[in-house]
C-alpha cells in the first residue's frame, strides 16, 4: 500500500528534519542577512527537501544534503528578490562563506553545543539583552528604546556580550578537545 509506505516516509523525514532543524536553521541564518528572508528560505527548503526526499540516500549525512538544497534556495532567492531595498549580498560572498562553513562543519557544531553552556553563565542583565535581540527579535534601535540606552550604547553592550560568548565557546571547545 502506498499509504503505509508514505507514512513511514513521512516519519523518516520528520525524524531527520527534527534532529537537524536547528543545524539547518543556523546555516541559513549564517548566510542570509535578513531574518524574515531566512525564514522564507527555510520554509521553501523544507518543501523542496520533502519533494526530493526520494533522492536522499538513507544512511548518508542528512544535514549536508539539506544544506545543499538550502544553499540553492538562498542563491535563487536572492535573484528573484532583486526588488528588495535591503542591500544585496554578492553571490560570490555567499558561496565563499558557505564553503567555509562546510570546511569548519564539525568545529561549528561543537561550538553550537558549547554555546548552550556559555549562555547559562551570562549575568541576568546580559541575558535580557540577548532575549531582546534574539528571542523578541528586536532591532538595535528597539533594544535601545526598551533598555533606555542610546543606540550606540545598546550596540556596544550587545557586541561585548557576543564577544564574551565567543571567547567562552572557544575555551569550552578547546577544553573538551584536549
Amino acid at each position: 500500500m502506498p499509504d503505509s509506505e508514505t507514512d513511514s516516509n513521512v516519519e523518516n523525514y520528520l525524524e531527520l528534519l527534527n534532529s537537524n532543524e536547528r543545524g539547518l536553521s543556523a546555516y541559513v541564518h549564517a548566510l542570509v542577512h535578513d531574518r524574515s528572508d531566512a525564514e522564507d528560505i527555510l520554509q521553501g527548503s523544507r518543501l523542496t527537501m520533502w519533494k526530493k526526499f526520494s533522492d536522499f540516500e538513507p544512511g548518508t549525512n542528512f544535514l549536508a544534503w539539506a544544506r545543499k538544497i538550502a544553499l540553492h534556495q538562498i542563491l535563487n532567492y536572492r535573484r528573484s528578490q532583486s526588488r528588495k531595498p535591503v542591500f544585496s549580498t554578492d553571490p560570490a560572498f555567499i558561496e565563499a562563506v558557505a564553503e567555509e562553513i562546510d570546511r569548519q562543519s564539525d568545529e561549528l557544531s561543537a561550538r553550537s553545543e558549547a554555546l548552550k553552556i556559555c549562555l547559562k553563565k551570562l549575568p541576568e542583565a546580559q541575558r535580557k539583552m540577548i532575549l531582546f535581540r534574539y528571542y523578541e527579535g528586536f532591532t538595535i534601535a528597539e533594544v535601545a528604546n526598551k533598555t533606555g540606552r542610546t543606540e550606540g550604547a545598546a550596540y556596544r553592550l550587545l557586541s561585548r556580550i557576543r564577544k564574551a560568548l565567543n571567547e567562552c565557546v572557544s575555551q569550552q571547545t578547546q577544553t573538551s578537545a584536549s
Binding site: A30, H33, L47, E100, Y135, S159
Partner: protein, 467 residues
Amino acid sequence: MRITTDSDLGLMIDKDSIDRLFDDQLSEAEAKQIEEAIIGDSELRRAYVEQRWLHAELIARGEELPDLFESKPRTGFPEVIGWLSAAAAIVFFASTVFLISSDKSEPTVATLIEAENCRWSGSELPTAEGAKLGAGRLALTEGMATIRFDSGAIVTLEAPTTLDIASAMRARLIEGSVVADIPESAHGFTIDTADTEIIDLGTRFGVTTTDLGSSHVFVFEGEVEVNQAEKPGTKLMTEGQSMRIGEENAFSTTSEEGEIARHASLIAPGDDWVAITTKEGRGKDAYFRKTHDESFGSDPLIMVKETDLSDANRRKAALTFDLKRQALHRVTDAKLSLKIESSGLGFSSLVPDSEFVLYGVRDSAMDQWKENEVSWSSAEPFALSDNPDAYESLASFTIKKGSPNSAVEMQSEALTHFIASHPDDLLTFVLTRVTGENDKQGLVHAFASKEHPSSPAPTLWIQTSQE
C-alpha cells in the same frame, strides 16, 4: 588574525567591524568592503564564520532561549517545539503535494482516557474516548474528562473548562477547573493560567480559574512551584496549602443567555402554575457555615456542603417563601426549583454524585429568622439532628459529578402535602447535602440566591384546584 586595512575607506577590518555587520551598524559601502575582503582572505573568512555562526545560532535558538536560561530542567519542551513546527510543515505539504492520512502525521502528546457525560464545544481536538491528542484546544461544556499526557501526567477537566494542550509536559488553563495527578515521570509538568505558572514538583494539585482572571491553586499532595507574572520570585506551595491569585472577587456575574433560555422552559411548568420566589414579600434565603459567625444572607450564592474531613466547611441553606394571598389548602401540586451555579470553591472530581435533601420546617416560630443576622451558631434551631420533630424530609435530588450548571427541581407528594397543610403563609425549608467528600478540597455546591444578578432566585411553584 591579520588586520586588513582598506585604503579607500580607511576601515579597519577586524573582529569589531565584522560584528557590526550583524546589527546593521555599517553603511552599504562599508558592508560591501568587508564582504570583498572576506572573499579574498581565508583567515578573515575563518574569523567571520566563527563570529557569524554564534549570531546565527542565537537566531536559530531564538524560541528556546528563555528555556536555556532557566536553570530548572524542562525536558522535552524545545524538542516538542521543533516537532510542532515540523508537523505544521508536513501538514502544509500534505495539502499541497498529496493527501496523506493525517492521524499519523501529527505528533500526539496525550490521550483522552475517560469522558463521562461529556459535551464539547469549539474543540480543535478529537473528543472521543481513547482519542490521541496533539497540541490544541479542548473545550468541555458538560461532564468530566480525563487526559493522560505522554509524560504520565493525568489531568481531569471539570466542565465548564477550556484547556490548551501545549506538549506532553505543559498545558494552559484558559478557564475552568482541573486536577492534576503527577507521577515521577512527569515531574516539572506545568500548567499555565493567564497570569500564573504552576510547576509540579511531584504531586497532586488542582487549579481553578474564572473568566474574571483570578485563579485558585490547591495542593493535595506534594509540592508545586508557583510563578506569578505580576510578582517577582517563586513561591513554593506544599501539601494542604491553597492560594488565590489575581482578582479577589471570585464570583462571576457572567451568564450565558442560551443557558437561561434553556432553563426558562424547565421552570415554567404551565399556565395554571404560580411562581413565588424568595425575593417576594417576607421571603429570604441564606446559607450557614459551621464555626463561622458571620451571616451569608446577602450573598448571591447559596452554598451547601457536607464533609467529615473538615467540619468548618460544612454548609447548609435556609429558604423562606412568603405565600400570602395563596389559598394553600387548595394546593394540588408543588415543586421547588433552584438554579445551580459554580461556587468557584473545590473540585467536583473529589466529590461523588451528590445527594441533597430538602426539609420542611414545621415550627412556625422558626420562620422569623433574620437573613442578615443568622449564622450557623445562632441558627441552632436549624440543627436537624437535635430537633427531629420540627422537620420533615420532603424531597431529595442528586447532582451528578461534572454536570452542567442547569436547574434542579424537587417535586413530591410530601412537598405538596407540607404546603397544603401548613398553618400559616410563611414556608421555611432547609437544604442540606447528604454526600460527603473524598478530599478536603471537594466541591462546594452552590445555587443562585435572590441576590444573584442574573440567575433566577429559588422558586416555589404551586398549582391550585379551581375551588
